[in-house]
């Protein structure tokens, strides 16, 4: 039932993936449209707030502070959540998290089945964390059928596809494509084509499950250490359904989801909706603490997962990656993402945050092409609500990748160039050499200007799409010296 997983360990390199995806004109059109719309929406609501920069600063400080005291806050969260009737589990990595969730789901389903016969099913709220660990595949292998309840995730699941954006996973699909999927998978031959028709179909399809399935799995936007509470930010109401109606709720969250206090939500509930969907506030936020008699699930579990986050924490230059609140604003402004969409990044985390998070979650063993999937334009840093300096982290990770690769052809060329730059004499010699070397590649155009249409080897990437004007006969310093000699 689950589609192919976006697995950084097996995904093609970014340049390769991009090469193929760039040929998909429909995808590019959808991504262009979606990112343009959301960029404008975000800009409008951000402009409304006179204190946006102060909010960003506070967001950055609170997240940094949290990471510095992460051990204290994790323990505090566990204590308070447990006191309120929740059960807290700890998972060192994805495998352990999967095992815990599958076990808890099996136990919950078995308990339900003892009361009355029911299929082995669970409901899911969209959670990047559960996708990161491939939870659905593990559940299915254990004989449990997970139903995605977010409209976009439903589209992805029914279409056996992969998500392409953190907040709007089916951004790469248009209504035509969605219509085909629903018509087929929901058995609705007369399904209308408008977005309203499609939403209505999804509503009815899922409502039946909401009112029936007693076990649900969610992620979390924020874990509140002070109270042991959990906050989920959503639009459609499926979150509320899954958090309120089932008898057992299992929440999976990375240890980086912790925030210190209830009051800190005053910052993040301003930063997140405006950055993510360009709204003053998203339709629904749910905050609950442990178990409440007569209201919501009777059994509540939280799985706190590390999965390489502590490793990222240990890296001084890149630990700011953990400050991310998963708004997706960076993806929406990224000029690279705009061309390729998210699947090119080969991971559930795409765009600028994906380029820095994914390789680090893989402990730099995989996804080494991602830190280079950026022109370092800085648009992401400008919109990040918690001021993650993504370009600087990209440069830092590029250094790590280069170190890992050792002496490649590129590294040798770079070392040679560095040596050349260490001496004026060598630099001028290299300039002369360059002019000599390019001479055979130069063709004069109609105006007598020389152009190069083809460059060999590594440099071929340039001439794949551009021409290169021939080097001028005289460098600047040649001209300067001549001017000096000639007295002007």
């Amino acid at each position: 039932m689950s589609g192919p997983l976006l697995d950084p360990r097996t995904a093609p390199s970014f340049p390769k993936a991009a090469h193929n995806l760039l040929r998909d004109a429909q995808l590019r059109k959808n991504v262009h449209h979606a990112t343009s719309v959301i960029q404008n929406k975000r800009a409008r609501v951000v402009a409304e707030l006179g204190d946006w920069e102060q909010l960003r600063l506070a967001g950055e400080r609170i997240r940094e502070h949290t990471m510095t005291h992460l051990d204290a806050y994790l323990e505090q969260f566990e204590m308070n959540c447990t006191r309120a009737g929740g059960v807290v589990h700890w998972a060192r990595d994805a495998e352990e998290a999967r095992q815990i969730v599958v076990r808890l789901a099996k136990e919950a389903i078995a308990a339900e089945q003892r009361e009355s016969p029911s299929p082995a099913e669970i409901l899911k709220i969209k959670s990047m964390t559960t996708e990161e660990i491939g939870l659905n595949g593990a559940l299915e292998a254990a004989g449990i059928r997970p139903y995605e309840t977010d409209l976009a995730e439903l589209i992805i699941q029914l279409g056996r596809d992969k998500p392409s954006h953190i907040v709007v996973p089916a951004l790469h699909k248009n209504r035509q494509q969605i219509h085909e999927i629903f018509q087929r998978e929901m058995h609705l031959p007369d399904l209308g084509h408008s977005p309203e028709d499609l939403a209505e179909a999804a509503r009815l399809f899922l409502r039946e499950k909401f009112l029936r399935v007693p076990t649900a799995v969610s992620g979390a936007n924020f874990l509140i250490a002070e109270t042991g509470g959990v906050c989920i930010v959503e639009s459609e109401g499926n979150g509320r359904m899954c958090l309120t109606l089932p008898r057992t709720l299992i929440t999976v969250a990375g240890i980086d989801k912790v925030i210190p206090r209830f009051r800190d939500l005053e910052v993040f509930l301003q930063l997140l909706p405006r950055s993510a969907t360009g709204e003053r506030m998203n339709p629904y936020n749910s905050i609950w603490t442990g178990v409440s008699a007569g209201d919501g699930p009777r059994a509540f579990h939280v799985v706190l997962m590390d999965n390489a986050r502590s490793g990222i924490l240990a890296d001084k230059e890149s630990r700011q990656t953990l400050n991310c609140i998963r708004c997706g604003a960076c993806q929406n402004v990224c000029p690279v993402y705009r061309q390729t969409g998210g699947q090119a990044y080969g991971s559930v985390y795409a765009g600028p945050i994906g380029a820095i998070l994914t390789p680090q979650l893989q402990q730099m063993h995989y996804a080494e092409s991602l830190p280079f999937a950026s022109s370092l334009c800085g648009a992401c840093y400008e919109v990040c609500p918690v001021k993650i300096n993504i370009p600087e982290v990209l440069i830092h990770l590029r250094n790590k990748v280069v170190e890992q690769k050792g002496l490649t052809g590129e590294a040798l060329a770079m070392k040679i160039m560095a040596t050349i730059f260490q001496s004026e004499r060598r630099f001028r010699a290299a300039q002369r050499l360059g002019r000599m070397a390019e001479a055979p590649l130069v063709r004069k155009d109609g105006q007598g200007v020389g152009w190069i249409g083809w460059l060999p080897g590594m440099l071929g990437g340039w001439t794949q799409v551009r021409d290169l004007q021939e080097m001028p006969k005289q460098t600047f310093r040649d001209w300067w010296e001549k001017r000096g000699r000639d007295g002007n």
Binding site: L57, F210, L269, P283
Partner: protein, 219 residues
């Protein structure tokens, strides 16, 4: 068995985090540092109460919520009018809702912990509110007395919410402050009817949760 593994995992994770940070923290150190975080964003209202109500109304309408503003004594009559206009008759209400809010001629049933299937049979739900945020057009319900259990405002397709002027604040920080004393209660923020932007980034209303939200603002 599971607890042992979880215990080992917890120990290991905390060890890694402490190593990464070059030392351990504790509740006292965290609290001191938290108090020292400089916050320069807005935390107070700038608008007068009347202007705040105007703003709230305006923002609610932005989300296609139907809003009317009335005097306290007119609540029941307004409820009657709105229910009639939308053809709703059988309405669920939380225990402890003000009797003077409920007009004659409709079936108001108190929520006594019904099943989801039962809740599905009602035309709508009527509640008060805990706090409302003017700047964002948000109504917040905490499970205390009048708002009631969360499922009741989730399953019926129509939600009629009575927001008293005394519950309205301008900014998000003010709202969080009001909620703080009861912060562990189940809490739901509503900003317009449910919506999705997943189909070509068009905001479509009415996926799950009530598709129709009416608000009576009372002075």
């Amino acid at each position: 068995m599971a607890t042992e593994t979880s215990g080992a995992a917890k120990t290991e994770i905390l060890r890694r985090v402490r190593k990464a940070n070059g030392g351990s923290s504790d509740a006292v150190a965290a609290e001191t540092a938290w108090n020292a975080i400089a916050r320069e964003y807005r935390r107070e209202a700038a608008l007068a109460p009347e202007a705040m109500l105007d703003l709230l109304e305006d923002r609610l309408r932005d989300y296609d919520a139907h809003v009317v503003r009335v005097q306290r004594l007119e609540i029941a009559a307004t409820v009657a009018r709105m229910l009639t206009e939308s053809g709703k008759r059988r309405i669920i209400v939380p225990a402890g809702i003000a009797a003077e809010w409920l007009p004659e001629g409709f079936e108001f049933v108190t929520d006594t912990g019904m099943t989801a299937a039962d809740l599905d049979g009602f035309d709508g739900v009527l509640t008060g509110s805990t706090v409302a945020i003017a700047e964002t057009g948000t109504v917040i319900l905490q499970d205390v007395a009048r708002p009631g259990r969360r499922a009741a405002t989730l399953i019926p397709d129509y939600h009629l919410c009575i927001v008293e002027a005394s519950k309205v604040v301008e900014t998000v920080p003010e709202a969080m402050e009001r909620l703080r004393a009861t912060s562990t209660r189940p809490t739901t923020f509503f900003s317009g009817p449910s919506a999705t932007a997943d189909i070509e980034m068009t905001r479509i209303k009415g996926v799950h949760g009530p598709r129709f939200l009416d608000v009576i603002l009372t002075i």
